[in-house]
């Protein structure tokens, strides 16, 4: 078990390093000059004197060869330093650390909602054998996938904040302001969960152990909740990593729509200001979240399905 854990951690470190390197290559090798962006963003493009520009260039190692720049950046990264945000002049890690709890709260509530909604749709349609209600339920996920979250969010705002006045429209104050963004964020994820779980439930109903349970006289709800659901939730676990990634990406749009503070908003602002260190920090953060979530899901596998041994599940 310890060996397995060590290998998982090594894999995680590799993904983090690779995400760092990939974002470094994309962001630094493509034709753009960070110093120019920096000067343009402060509006002092023309009046900077050449000596100061040269000093700035030397400070940021812009003219050094690629491997020198990369070596310096990697050295800092290992020490947990992701550089300084260009327009805000604060460490990237500090800015992300400040915004992350807000997004975490939003994503956590959205995840719970998505699980309840998606799982509910899948279970109900798995329980019904046919009929109009089942057809309606099955047509819901493809519909939800097709609704862009910026539009869903604006629609919810229009109806529930402006017409009915149930929830505050903007900002980060209290639980009330969290509800509409969380619902918006949850909808596409719920659709994915519903689709995967519905399919997996349908396949599981054909397994021999369902026949055995039926032969023993178990009722349909009992079979669904006790036997089938446990088995069918496995594919759900494999998409959890993707789901969390979608929630983070969705937060970019949702936090902008609802003018909330958070990591997603940081992404939007960083892109608008061409804040390259910030973008890189956020890419690394999303890779970190991916690693943590997937490692967690893999460790949970054996608890749900005892047939899966951690030592055999290494090569994912």
């Amino acid at each position: 078990m310890t060996g397995y854990l060590l290998r998982r951690v090594a894999q995680g470190v590799f993904v983090l390093w690779a995400a760092f390197t990939a974002s470094f290559v994309i962001l630094y090798l493509l034709p753009s000059d960070p110093v120019e962006i920096m000067l343009a963003s402060t509006g002092s493009m023309g009046e900077m004197d050449p000596a100061a520009v040269a000093e700035l260039r030397a400070e940021h190692h812009v003219d050094d060869p690629f491997y020198v720049q990369y070596g310096i950046a990697l050295g800092r990264f290992v020490q947990g330093d992701l550089g300084t945000s260009i327009p805000q002049r604060l460490p990237v890690t500090e800015l992300i650390g400040r915004a992350f709890p807000e997004t975490l709260r939003l994503a956590a509530l959205a995840f719970v909602l998505a699980l309840a909604l998606g799982g509910g749709v899948a279970l109900l349609s798995g329980f019904l054998r046919g009929g109009r209600l089942r057809r309606l339920l099955l047509s819901l996920p493809p519909l939800l996938v097709s609704v862009p979250s910026f539009w869903a969010g604006l629609l919810l705002l229009q109806v529930f904040s402006f017409r009915l006045g149930w929830f505050p429209a903007l900002g980060n104050q209290g639980f009330g302001s969290l509800v509409l963004p969380a619902v918006t964020l949850a909808l596409p994820t719920a659709a994915v969960i519903a689709q995967v779980l519905t399919k997996s439930l349908m396949l599981t109903w054909r397994e021999p152990f369902v026949v055995t349970a039926t032969a023993k006289g178990a009722s349909r709800p009992r079979i669904l909740f006790v036997d089938v659901l446990r088995h069918a939730s496995l594919p759900g676990f494999t998409i959890v990593g993707m789901t969390i990634g979608n929630l983070l990406a969705g937060a970019i749009v949702v936090e902008t729509v609802f003018s909330r503070l958070g990591v997603g908003r940081l992404v939007e602002q960083a892109v608008a200001a061409q804040d390259i260190p910030m973008i890189q920090g956020l890419v690394v953060l999303s890779a970190l979240v991916f690693v943590v979530v997937n490692t967690g899901a893999d460790l949970l596998y054996p608890l749900i399905d005892p047939r899966i041994r951690p030592s055999r599940a290494v090569k994912a």
Partner: protein, 293 residues
């Protein structure tokens, strides 16, 4: 399904019309699919010849007619400058759909070439390519696109390329899997034993048998790309303001949520319907392919 059917030689002749008739009937039995196709043709015509459908000039507004609700004169109402929203939506189709098509094309070509190369050559280059693909998959697509847009700069073209780059990994993975499967087929072995060159084997034998899944993926990717392109345009990284684009039309209406619901709702509805139609057609292609085998 996959049982090979041996037909008598004379039975081969009428197969074509029968297959066509079967296909037509198969389609007509699905009204949702027919509606989706019709809607897509309609929207594509908007993109191709917007002048034919637009009722007003998309860029010039009549200040006296500002913020009019939808009605017979202005089907989608007017915006804060008195511009006709329906005409703007029609004119936005070419940029939004064009960017979507370009994004899918970039992802399809780059991903397929990468996957084809990776699967066919194998060895350590395959290993390197696939590890890169894994890393790209670990970053959410929208974030990856945004990172690329940061470097390339804003604008519809750059948004399209960025969305395409985010899709490369998925295409590469599917293509590689199919290439690996095809490479174990007997006819590939036969070609090799007959002394056919590697390149010719790749182009004539491996590629045609591996391209199917990627083509279906391309169809499925259209929906995702519409969403990504319009999201980036909504965030304000697409075309500059006066030019209409579906995502930016919705975002322009944000300031009038209380007084003019139509400004966000109607262009958004067009996006939703387009995505629904695209996904429906893609699923039909996917299912048709499954029945074919």
């Amino acid at each position: 399904m996959s049982v090979p059917v041996v037909k008598a030689p004379d039975a081969v002749r009428p197969a074509r019309p029968r297959r066509l008739r079967y296909g037509v009937r198969w389609t007509l039995r699905r009204p949702g699919l027919v509606l989706s196709v019709l809607f897509l043709v309609w929207v594509l015509l908007w993109a191709a010849v917007p002048g034919l459908f637009a009722t007003h000039d998309p860029l010039v507004g009549v200040p006296a007619d500002k913020l009019l609700p939808p009605g017979p004169g202005h089907w989608f109402g007017t915006d804060h400058l008195g511009r006709d929203l329906f005409s703007r939506t029609v004119h936005g189709a070419s940029l939004s759909l064009g960017a979507t098509a370009l994004a899918v094309f970039v992802g399809f070509v780059a991903g397929s070439v990468l996957g084809l190369f990776s699967g066919f050559v194998g060895g350590w280059s395959d290993e390197v390519v696939m590890r890169c693909v894994d890393v790209m998959m670990s970053i959410p697509g929208l974030l990856l696109s945004l990172a690329v847009v940061t470097v390339l700069g804003f604008g519809t073209l750059n948004v399209a390329v960025a969305v395409g780059i985010a899709a490369v990994a998925g295409f590469a993975r599917v293509m590689r899997a199919d290439v690996l499967r095809t490479c174990t087929e007997v006819f590939v072995e036969a070609a090799e034993s007959l002394g056919v060159s590697r390149r010719r084997t790749l182009v004539r034998h491996v590629l045609p048998h591996s391209i199917g899944s990627v083509l279906v993926l391309a169809a499925l990717e259209f929906g995702t790309a519409i969403l990504a392109v319009s999201s980036l345009s909504f965030l304000g990284f697409g075309a500059a303001p006066p030019t209409p684009e579906w995502g930016s039309l919705v975002s322009e209406g944000r300031n009038y949520l209380v007084s003019a619901w139509w400004l966000t709702t109607l262009p958004g509805l067009v996006i939703v319907l387009t995505m629904l139609a695209t996904n429906r057609v893609a699923r039909a292609l996917d299912a048709g392919r499954g029945e074919d085998r």
